[in-house]
Structure formats: structure tokens, C-alpha cells
Amino acid sequence: METGFVPFVIISIAKILVVVVILLMSVAYTVLLERKLVGRIQNRWGPSRVGPFGLLQPLVDGAKLFLKEDLMPTAVYRPLYIIAPMIALSCALMSIAVVPFGANITWHGVDLFQIADVNIGLLVILGITSVGVYGIALSGWSSNNKYSLLGSLRASAQVISYELALGLSLVGVVMRAGTFRLRDIVDVQATHGLISWNFFGGFQFVAFFIYLMAAYAETNRAPFDLPEAESELTAGYHTEYSSMKFAMFFMAEYANMITVGCVATLLFFGGWTSPFGHLFDNLLTGIVAQAVLPVFWFVLKVFFFLFLYIWVRGTLPRFRYDQLMGFGWKFLVPVAIANIVVTSLWMGILLPVQ
């Protein structure tokens, strides 16, 4: 069904608004989830005063950050100081545009569960995350504070080093699917449920663990959170930021976590496909169930990855800087290359020549 230009634009804008609002809400509630879970890990309650189980805490936090005074230190380099949190947040929000959340259902010629279906979806995500590091790098430099500068230098070095391992770990998946289009990568894993996911059936679990570790380093999360190591650097690159500018860095970090969860789900855990394959397809035949159920699986899997993020943060101590670099260059990169070689050999031997 062909739609005109104007309805297409209106539906697309509505879609973008819905996705961004949901993303920002999930960012807010991921923060709450983290505070609750880390609280439980450390044998305390976490936020519990505002609303039932502290459920209204994110809204109150947001209001507080909005209303706080926006301090501008005197010696900062103004243009970059202002623009840096914007770069960080906009890059974090942009990469969600190519993520497909559910099955390919079109309404008036518009794909309902994906903002933009591009051929190079995976590369777009990699590109946007690689640009996002400027937010951190420039914020530290423009703050005119040695702790901030050290934090942003650590962040740039770390992101460049781990980007290699991250990119190489995805090659195996791309080779199996033969495309960068995220929908096609999921479709390859959709045949038999759990056993045809790249993690289990595709034997890409080595790639998955490399991806996970590199992605934790890319998002500056524990155990790779050296850029904001509070015991050494006060608060790292965002020491000089206050109010909404600080909140933008915070939101960018959590939005990046969600994107990493989405990509891990899509590439290694079958995206929106059910773990039972087509076993129960004849139980739920309505069009609404067929549209909603994939989204449910997708959200469940992404939630699992967010949980894992927080679990790891509450469990593992921070790396030392030389350990971090050694781990990235001497362990992750060689293993990722070995994974590519083994995967291509395996494909060359087992698959018929085209």
C-alpha cells in the first residue's frame, strides 16, 4: 500500500516521538532499577519513600534536576562546555532509530516497530556510538579541570581501544547473516526458536562475550568505569557539570546501556523472536497478539541485559588502567580475530558453496 508524503511524515514523526518518550522513560526507570538492585546487593532498601516501592522516584529526581541552578564555572571554554552534553545525549538517542522492536508489521505503508529500516543498520549504530565519545572528550577538556581532563582522556583511549574488539566480535554474526540489516540478521535466527539463535545454535557465544565486555567498556560502565572513577577523579569528565547538563550525561549513559542491550538482543538472542520458535503459534492468532508478543519478548530480553549490567556493576571491582588496556588489546582483539577465523572455516566446511 502506497502512502502520500504528508501522511508518511506525520506517522513517522509520531513514531519518533513515541520511541523517544518510551526510551527516556525507560532511562529514568533503569536508574531506579539500578538503585533498587544495587541496594539489594548491598543489603539495604534503595529508594522507597516516594510512591509505592519508590516508583515515583525518577519523576521527582527529574523535577529536581530541572529546577536546580545551572552553574557555569568561570574558566570553562563556553561553546564546547555547552555543546558537549548535547553531543553525548543526541548520539545516545539517535542510535535507537535503526533498532527494530517487533515483527515487520506495516500500517498505511509505514513500518510500525522500527523508525528507519536501513541496509547498514548495524554500521549506523557503530558509527553513532563512535561519534558519541566526543561528548565525553570535549566535556572534560572544556571544563578546565584536571580531574575532568583525566577522565575524558581515559574515556577516549578506552573507547578507541575497545571499539576494535567490538567491531571484530560482530563480524561472525554478519558473516552468518550475510547482511548488515538488523531485520535480516534477526530473520536468520527465527527458524527454530532458542536453538537457532546466534548465541546457541550459531556458536557465536565467544563473540557474544567479547561484545558484552567491549560494550561495557564503550558505555563506561563498571568494571570499566575508569573515566568516572569517583575515588580518584571526583566524578571524572562531568565533575564541573550541574543541573540539566549533568542529567544529560547521565541520560546518555543509560540510553547507551539500553542500546547495547537492544543490539545484543538483536544480534545474539534472536531479537523479537520467541524462544519457543513457532511452537505455540496456533494458540495466539489475533493480529494484535502477533504484533504485541514479539515486542514483549524483545523487551524481556533487553530487560535481562539491563539487569546483567547492574548485577555486574554491583559485583565486580574496577580494573586498573594498565589491566584495562592489556585486556582489550592482548586478550579481546586476538580472541575476536580467532573467532572470525573459526567461524569462516566452519562456514566454509559445513555450508554448500554458492
Binding site: 541496509n119 554500521l123 572528550a137 570535549l138 581532563l149 577516549s156 578507541i160
Partner: protein, 164 residues
């Protein structure tokens, strides 16, 4: 649509390049260079080279320019001092630049026929097409280039190594 995008990002590219030259602070120049490279990526995309566009953003805007800014931040380079320039630059530089521009324009215009393949529009070179050209038809040049880069890396390591 494609033409409008081409004009917008072409203008952005030129503006970024000019800003790169006029800015006095190295970090502003580096940021202008990032703008230039990112808008070049959009131009590649408009020409239908999607993989090239993504590679441009990931490699140039994302990795190489991060290293540039990294070095600028580490060296803490201050703003440049403005001088009036030497007389030689005015006498030899301006005609030289004019001759170069004229020569390039002449070469491009006289070889217009061989650019017929490239055009702005819905034309798309998929990653599959690109990899078939790169890894099948041009395999030898590709491998030779990788050896060349390896030599450069080895040279850098040899130069950076401390004497024992």
C-alpha cells in the same frame, strides 16, 4: 529531495573546511574537520555508497579524529598567534593556488565523460557488490595495500621502541 540534501551538506562541508582554516584554536579546527568528514559521509550516501559512508563515519569521524583531539588535549595547544604572513606567500602563493584550481577544473571538465557512473539518486551500491569488487576482482591490490600498512605500523613500532 536528493539534490536539496546534496546542496545542504555540500555547503556544510565547504563551510566546515573554511572554518577549519579561519579558526585560531586547534580544537575548533579539529571539530570543523569532523564536520567536514561527516558531511562527506552524507555525500557518499547520496551517491549510493552506503558502506563507504558508514566506514567514513566510523573510521574518520569516530577513530582518527578522536586521536587528533586526544593529542590536542594532551599537548594543551594554545591559540595560534596571528601574523601578517610573509611576502613570499602573497607573491608566489596566490598565483600558485589560482593555477592549481584552474588546472584541476580543466582536468575534471575535460574528463567529464568518465564520471557518468556516479550520480545522485536512488542508485545504490550494496555492501555485497563492494566486497565482490574488493575481494574478488581487486584482491591483489587490496592485499598489497594491507602489506604496505603493515610496513608502516612496523616502522612506527621500530621508531618508538626504546634503545636498550
Amino acid at each position: 529531495m536528493h539534490l536539496a540534501l546534496f546542496i545542504i551538506f555540500g555547503a556544510l562541508c565547504v563551510a566546515g573546511a573554511l572554518n577549519l582554516l579561519f579558526q585560531r584554536h586547534p580544537i575548533n579546527s579539529a571539530l570543523s574537520l569532523i564536520v567536514v568528514m561527516s558531511s562527506l559521509a552524507v555525500l557518499y550516501l547520496l551517491l549510493g555508497a552506503e558502506f563507504l559512508a558508514a566506514a567514513q563515519v566510523i573510521v574518520y569521524s569516530g577513530a582518527i579524529m578522536v586521536l587528533f583531539t586526544f593529542v590536542i588535549m594532551l599537548l594543551n595547544a594554545g591559540a595560534e598567534e596571528r601574523t601578517h604572513g610573509s611576502k613570499m606567500a602573497y607573491i608566489a602563493g596566490i598565483p600558485g593556488a589560482a593555477i592549481l584550481v584552474a588546472l584541476l577544473t580543466f582536468v575534471f571538465l575535460s574528463n567529464r565523460g568518465s564520471f557518468a557512473q556516479a550520480r545522485i539518486g536512488d542508485y545504490l551500491v550494496t555492501t555485497r557488490d563492494l566486497s565482490q569488487v574488493l575481494f574478488r576482482d581487486l584482491l591483489l591490490p587490496f592485499e598489497v595495500t594491507s602489506v604496505l600498512i603493515l610496513i608502516a605500523i612496523l616502522g612506527a613500532v621500530a621508531l618508538a621502541r626504546k634503545e636498550h
